[in-house]
């Protein structure tokens, strides 16, 4: 392996430098994925930083990030490669106008790499000067099962075959991060090839660190209040619990409003930044927000 990461501590530090604060558990699997050249399979609620980790790894290692966003009906022409037909056409017309007679030569010319549109998977298999790229396969659960099977094949050999060009094989396997929101179970065969990790909501200290790293302009006391409130909110019975992304958004909202500390009024005005469903917002109307705030302060050991 070309990465010079030697330990779990180094991995954690490396991610921290990219402002990605993660627990020991996540650092361990990232380290193993880098060391063992295994794809990393991440599941978890929306907004806990699954996609972010790929960005952090690529930035830290100075590798290119190649993202394959999955959706229903994703096919090989948008995931692997496609021929650039208009460009081929122009090339043929030009050749005709110039009076090129040799058909074979023309054929090899128009089916060369120059006319190949590389989609994420092929791009990830191609050589890169800075080293193997980070391939992020985002929301895999959104595709259909046939594509999953195809991916399984591509990920086990790290090669794709283009009939006109032959087999393209990755000189070094890319670092693969697969994320899933778990709308359906991904097949065990694919999971078996990967290292698995369930990304959970961070605890108070960790989330505070994240907030410090991401919104450094927020004061210490405000940050503590925000994190305590969000942590308390996650224990409430909500339809959609706020993720870390929401915490960060909310902190930015509060800063924009020049709020120095949380009050029921401020919370009521900005609740839309953390809760995205009307039912959930309705639950925190009136005295409820004050109650959650009081409980949050109590559990974080803050004076009122």
């Amino acid at each position: 392996m070309t990465t010079d990461i030697t330990s779990i501590d180094a991995t954690q530090e490396m991610l921290e430098q990219q402002n990605y604060i993660c627990g020991r558990a996540l650092a361990t699997v990232v380290f193993l994925a880098l060391k063992l050249n295994r794809p990393l399979f991440l599941e978890g609620e929306a907004g806990v930083g699954k996609t972010e980790i790929a960005k952090a790894i690529s930035a830290a290692l100075g590798r290119r990030l190649i993202r394959l966003q999955c959706y229903e009906g994703l096919d090989a022409s948008s995931a692997v490669y496609e021929w650039n037909f208009p460009a081929q056409m122009v090339a043929i017309r030009t050749a005709e106008a110039e009076g090129v007679e040799d058909r074979d030569e023309l054929k090899t010319e128009v089916f060369s790499e120059e006319f190949l549109i590389r989609r994420p998977l092929l791009e990830a298999m191609s050589p890169h000067v800075e080293g193997p790229p980070v391939l992020l396969i985002d929301e895999l659960d959104r595709t259909d099962e046939p594509f999953e099977a195809f991916l399984l094949e591509a990920l086990s050999d790290f090669q794709v075959t283009i009939p006109e060009l032959g087999t393209i094989r990755a000189p070094e396997p890319p670092i693969v991060i697969i994320t899933s929101n778990r709308t359906r179970e991904v097949h065990d065969a694919l999971k078996r090839r990967c290292l698995y990790h369930w990304v959970d909501y961070p605890d108070f200290e960790r989330e505070l660190e994240i907030l410090h790293a991401r919104v450094p302009e927020a004061s210490e006391s405000l940050s503590r209040e925000i994190v305590a409130f969000v942590q308390q909110l996650r224990t409430e019975d909500l339809f959609k619990k706020p993720g870390v992304a929401e915490t960060i958004d909310w902190a930015k909202c509060l800063l924009a409003l020049d709020a120095v500390q949380l009050s029921p009024q401020v919370i009521a005005d900005t609740l839309g930044a953390i809760l995205k469903y009307q039912d959930d917002i309705a639950k925190l109307q009136g005295s409820e927000a004050a109650r959650v705030l009081a409980e949050a302060k109590a559990s974080a050991g803050m004076a009122d």
Partner: protein, 418 residues
């Protein structure tokens, strides 16, 4: 989450044997751990080293766990095993029957609670009349009782195979569940399409040496929505839920044009996702697996609680892209009615269409008197019977006609009068 306090990690070189044994313990506890994973784990531990118990935990975790529900099992086995491997062996022997055996084989409180009582829920005065008018009412009494306790019972599907049921199953397996496709944003080549496909035109022209002979056309692709079935398997529903599961199995395995994905859940006192099990080709194997997974067969009903669990854990995941919800229950619930109403609203808001199949509707004298039914009815799009094969076939109509309400309008009017 996990206590790491007393975990002496063996410092000797026997860790390969230890990990192999540990894997066996995990397998016994129900985790799908193959030899490949054991080898991965050994390699991973070699790379990560033994420096820290916590790292050791997460290293093995990354290799052996592949589903969120396995995390807790893993943590427990890990704690027990690395404290004393032999101790665990003993524990496994003791634990397994303990897990399976706590439940008493408790027969449903047969006719103690009469169907009519459950149905009318508080309006006892009418009970005798109802029973006399409707000759069939008494026969089904026994199947309409519900008990509040969760009866942890693993169901044996073998008992189903009577001649009529076998025939019914064959018929159920043939019922097609047509669905109206949705127009997608994406396009597909089509001779009759009305949108020019420039890329396709070029590709065709390549074959004739760059000569454009005719325009290739494309049209909007169509896609099929998801079907989400929530099937009540409580005691009062047992006669129907089996038939319905056969029906869901047929829908899950239908090939060709049909639902994009069929997600199936069962609920009684708790919600269980049985989608994976129903995907098995063989219907008996599929239902046996589903039966083993759902532990609350023929127990009580907590509809509000289970819908809440569905809304919280699954609705955002499976109800996207125009999903249709099929709710199969008799609506006899003991939970607080306000909660049921709120959860039903949430469900209807999240789904494109909610169809309620209620086997009680087969009675002519059926009236929405039970509290649970009164709370749920306003929040469904269509209300239909679901007690025989004909009614399942009629479901096809409900799915193809967007404005189909079934019996809802009639019953809502009855509710208004009362």
């Amino acid at each position: 989450m996990v206590q790491f306090a007393d975990l002496p990690v063996p410092a000797d070189g026997k860790f390969v044997a230890n990990i192999t044994h540990f894997a066996r313990a995990l397998r016994k506890a129900g985790l799908p751990v193959g030899t490949g994973r054991v080898m991965d784990a050994i390699r991973a531990v070699q790379v990560a080293g033994f420096t820290d118990k916590r790292d050791f935990f997460w290293t093995l975790h990354a290799c052996f766990v592949s589903r969120p529900e396995h995390r807790l099992v893993f943590a427990q086995v890990f704690r027990l095993y690395w404290r004393d491997p032999q101790y665990l062996e003993h524990m496994m022997a003791l634990m397994l029957p303990a897990i399976r055996g706590v439940q008493q084989e408790r027969p449903a409180e047969a006719a103690e609670k009469r169907a009519a009582e459950a149905l009318l829920d508080g309006a006892e005065a009418e009970v005798p009349e109802q029973a006399e008018e409707d000759g069939t009412g008494i026969e089904v009494d026994a199947s309409l009782t519900y008990s509040g306790q969760e009866v942890l019972k693993s169901l044996d599907f073998e008992q189903m195979s009577t001649a009529e049921m076998a025939e019914a199953k064959r018929m159920i397996a043939r019922i097609a569940l047509p669905v109206k496709p949705l127009a997608s944003r994406r396009t597909a080549p089509s001779a009759r399409g009305r949108i020019a496909d420039w890329r396709g035109t070029m590709r065709k022209a390549m074959r004739s040496g760059g000569e454009i002979r005719a325009l290739s056309m494309q049209q909007r692709r169509i896609r099929w929505p998801n079907l989400v079935a929530l099937c009540d398997i409580s005691g009062s529903m047992s006669a129907y839920s089996r038939a319905v599961l056969h029906f869901l199995h047929a829908a899950s395995n239908a090939r060709g044009a049909g639902w994009a994905q069929v997600h199936s859940f069962t609920f009684g006192t708790r919600l269980t996702n049985i989608t994976r099990h129903l995907k098995q080709r063989d219907v008996d194997a599929a239902l046996a697996a589903a039966g083993a997974e759902a532990q609350d067969w023929e127990g009580g009903t907590r509809i509000g609680e289970c819908l809440h669990a569905f809304n919280r854990d699954w609705s955002r995941r499976v109800l996207g892209q125009g999903a249709v919800v099929l709710l199969i229950t008799d609506g006899l619930d003991r939970d607080a009615p306000e909660r049921l109403s709120a959860e039903m609203q949430r469900l209807q808001l999240s789904a494109k269409k909610v169809i309620w199949l209620n086997p009680l509707l087969r009675w002519d004298g059926f009236a929405p008197k039970a509290r649970g039914i009164r709370e749920m009815l306003p929040n469904v799009d269509s209300f239909r019977a679901g007690h025989n094969i004909a009614s399942l076939e009629a479901l096809a109509d409900a799915l193809t006609r967007p404005d189909d309400m079934g019996e809802k309008a009639r019953l809502m009017a009855m509710m208004g009068e009362a």
